[in-house]
């Protein structure tokens, strides 16, 4: 499978998953579930909201990466950069999601440890993609 297709496929499925999560959060709002809405659980609410937002945004980033690969002439995206963008799309929202399931007052659960790892992959992936696009244009 080409890198472009891989990003597009991941992006669309990821978008579907995290938009569904958004819908799930609306349901929690609708039924006013204390587990999600009580002020003592505001860290859980923040984590889930961040999981939804990051998952959706990173799905769009992957879609953008797939389309960029398709439309920028002679663009060669390093294998690790492609991997990093997808890894970030998994780790960042998953870290927030897991961090919100078990919370400790104002602290998220240990799942939050995935977030900085995902953040690192994202930075690397975006940086490397930017560089590749720049080089392609320059060449």
């Amino acid at each position: 499978m080409s890198a472009s297709n891989r990003h597009l496929r991941f992006g669309w499925w990821s978008l579907f998953a995290y938009l569904s999560l958004g819908l799930g959060l609306e349901v929690l709002h609708g039924f006013k579930l204390g587990w999600y809405l009580d002020v003592g659980n505001e860290m859980r609410r923040l984590m889930f909201t961040l999981a939804h937002a990051h998952g959706t945004l990173l799905a769009l980033v992957n879609l953008a990466a797939g389309l960029t690969l398709r439309f920028v002439k002679d663009l060669v995206l390093p294998r690790y950069a492609s991997f990093s963008l997808i890894a970030a799309g998994v780790l960042l929202p998953l870290g927030f999601l897991l961090g919100g399931i078990q919370i400790y007052g104002g602290d998220p659960g240990v799942g939050i440890v995935l977030v900085p790892i995902g953040g690192f992959f994202l930075l690397y992936g975006v940086g490397a993609t930017a560089r590749a696009v720049t080089r392609a244009k320059a060449d």
Binding site: K32, G34, L37, D38, V39, G40, N41, E42, M43, P78, Y104, G105, G106, D107, V110, Y124, G127, A128, R131, T134, R135, A138
Partner: protein, 638 residues
């Protein structure tokens, strides 16, 4: 990664563009840093000079700092009345009727004006000319907010306060003289003098309050935080916060079994220390000496939650043989000190001072029983309605609303509940609290449960004139009936009883014969649903109407509220603060209206109630009991 880091050094983009981008990035970061520094260095506004102020003292950080890591606990505290024990300036929600309020008390007229965001009070001799109103005094502090709101005025002498002599009863939306919210003899017209808030109230109405007496009647009072906040119960939090900035430390604590030694959690303390965390305020305590009193005023309390003793004070129990010299001195200054606070056997009779009762309870001697056995400060239920109900309901744990709290330690009783209580399982007579923690304490215009767990006896009524639990429900029964039951069911020795003890309803006798404290508790019980179910209602009307004419204002208030609980009188209007002829007329009118329009024609009355079959008083009994009334002055200040 190496490729990424070195990519930009290869200058594949034009040098000018790259430099511009770098400058933009640097400027952005510099802007953030300047903003952050500016907000950190933001100077607080000048402190008001006419009232006590919030000033953090060593180690204290305030509840605002605790909030970010403990949002749930912050929310439950915020919903509690501990937070609103003291509110400064315009912070509290003032009653709408405060604006342009005009009241008269003890020969003086008071007028309240709304100026800007503040309220100010002017006063004059009653009936004087408008030009005779004094210079305005600003309302600078509010205390209370659960049952009552009390307002404090700036005196102009440093940060010294004086009380606005009227309180606002929230449930009734009614302004009344503060003195008439206390159990106080009618000749008392005022209660607190200028400076008393600074000298005494500040200690338990703020967090780490310091009265800071200067000279004359001038105080320079400060508190770490107004109201009873996190650090009152958990001790100062600076070290806790400093150490827990480290996320690894926090997660080690979250995931491990170890307690955080940088903060105190009263719910995890042993009974003595846990109880004292609450009891530092909820007790009748006295200073160990003048040196300790001055030290507390200047530097604040040296007690910290977790300790098992207060360095500057001691819990004052009248029946123990400790602190003999201090107790003697207290009695020399006020011979009624103990009798205004304790029943004759040492049981507390005033509300808000529960630790004295807890300490004297047999349960406490077991080593595990403390305030948190029944109360919780941070309930799990977090929505606004649940928190409001919890705060209004004495901050009880969910299990404490049933027998569960007691059955934790007395599981065998559960299996034989009805055999033990001799009452149906679902009735009020099978509630542990009703028999072992009856409503024998008074304060805040109502009765509250005794916090000294005990068993009912006729002896407590005969010797100490304290209503026993049985007759607080069975108000229609004589003491003799109670004595028979307690002898038959629990083997209690049969006491020697008078003819009245054997024949007359305790409710009748207590309401006519008792001292003001006993009359208030009886009138309150007459409005208590379990007592009405057990004793019947018809006979209560005439007695409660009679009690509306009591010389003690607070007894009149309680009688009025109990009358409103009876069928037909839900909207019965009565101004309990009225005195003299207008009061007698109002009582007469109310009684006659009931007699003519509401009295049930076929009503039957208990045999010993002292009523004729038509509902009139048996005059010989009525007059005899009234003449024998205990006229001892009662002054109960919660």
């Amino acid at each position: 990664m190496f490729d990424l880091l070195t990519a930009f050094s290869r200058r594949r983009v034009p040098a000018g563009k790259s430099r511009r981008a770098a400058w933009l990035l640097a400027a952005g970061w510099a802007g953030w840093i300047v903003l952050a520094l500016a907000s950190a260095a933001e100077a607080p506004g000048p402190l008001p000079a006419n009232r006590p102020v919030e000033q953090l003292t060593a180690g204290y950080v305030s509840s605002a700092t605790c909030r970010s890591c403990h949002p749930g606990n912050y929310a439950s505290w915020h919903a509690s009345f501990h937070r609103t024990m003291t509110q400064p300036g315009a912070a509290p929600k003032f009653p709408e009727s405060l604006d342009r309020l005009e009241l008269t008390h003890d020969g003086r007229d008071y007028r309240v004006e709304h100026v800007g965001s503040a309220y100010q009070v002017r006063q004059r001799v009653h009936g004087g000319a408008t030009t005779e109103y004094s210079a305005p005094q600003q309302i600078v502090l509010t205390t209370g907010s659960h049952h009552l709101q009390i307002f404090w005025l700036a005196t102009g002498e440093g940060r010294t306060l004086v009380q606005f002599p009227f309180a606002y009863i929230l449930a009734e939306k009614m302004w009344v003289p503060v003195i008439q919210t206390f159990m106080a003899p009618p000749e008392f017209k005022n209660i607190y003098t200028a400076g008393e808030w600074n000298a005494a109230c500040i200690n338990c109405h703020t967090t780490q309050g310091r009265g800071r007496f200067v000279s004359g009647n001038t105080f320079d009072s400060q508190a770490a935080e107004f109201g009873i906040s996190c650090e009152s119960c958990h001790a100062e939090g600076a070290d806790h916060i400093a150490q827990n900035r480290n996320p690894l430390r926090r997660f080690a604590l979250h995931l491990g079994d170890q307690r955080d030694p940088t903060i105190v959690n009263p719910a995890r303390l042993k009974a003595q220390a846990s109880t004292l965390a609450c009891g530092q305020c909820h007790s009748i305590a006295a200073f160990k000496g003048m040196e300790e009193k001055i030290d507390l005023s200047q530097h604040g309390s040296k007690f910290r939650p977790g300790q098992t003793e207060m360095p500057q004070k001691f819990i004052l129990q009248p029946t123990t043989d400790d602190h003999v010299a201090q107790k003697r001195e207290i009695l020399q200054r006020n011979p009624n000190y103990f009798s205004d606070r304790f029943w004759g056997d040492g049981m507390t009779r005033v509300t808000g001072r529960e630790m004295n009762g807890v300490l004297a309870s047999p349960c406490f001697k077991g080593g595990e029983f403390s305030c948190v056995s029944c109360h919780e400060m941070h309930p799990r239920a977090g929505d606004t309605a649940a928190l409001a109900a919890w705060a209004d309901g004495h901050q009880m744990t969910v299990s404490a609303e049933s027998n569960t709290s007691c059955l934790q330690c007395h599981p065998k009783i559960a299996a034989i509940l009805t055999a033990h209580t001799h009452h149906p399982a679902e009735s009020a007579g099978s509630s542990c609290y009703n028999c072992h923690m009856p409503h024998t304490a008074f304060g805040l215009m109502g009765a509250l449960r005794s916090h000294q767990v005990s068993s009912p006896s006729v002896r407590e009524t005969l010797e100490y004139h304290r209503p026993n639990a049985c007759n607080l429900c069975h108000l229609d029964k004589p003491l003799g009936w109670t004595a028979e039951k307690l002898t038959a069911w629990y083997g209690q020795p049969a006491p020697a009883l008078s003819a009245d003890d054997r024949e007359l309803a305790t409710g009748t006798r207590w309401l006519l014969q008792g001292d003001a404290g006993l009359r208030a508790l009886t009138a309150w019980s007459m409005g208590w649903a379990p007592a009405q179910r057990a004793s019947g209602r018809d006979w209560l009307y005439p007695y409660l109407f009679t009690s509306l004419d009591d010389p003690y204002a607070v007894v009149r208030f309680v009688s009025w509220k109990s009358l409103q609980s009876l069928p037909g009188l839900g909207d019965f209007k009565f101004t309990y603060t009225t005195e003299g002829a207008p009061l007698h007329s109002a009582v007469q009118a109310g009684y006659q209206n009931w007699w003519r329009t509401m009295r049930a024609p076929g009503a039957t009355f208990p045999a010993g109630a002292g009523l004729l079959p038509d509902g009139h008083f048996q005059q010989d009994i009525f007059v005899r009991l009234l003449r024998a009334r205990d006229q001892s002055p009662i002054f109960i200040v919660e």
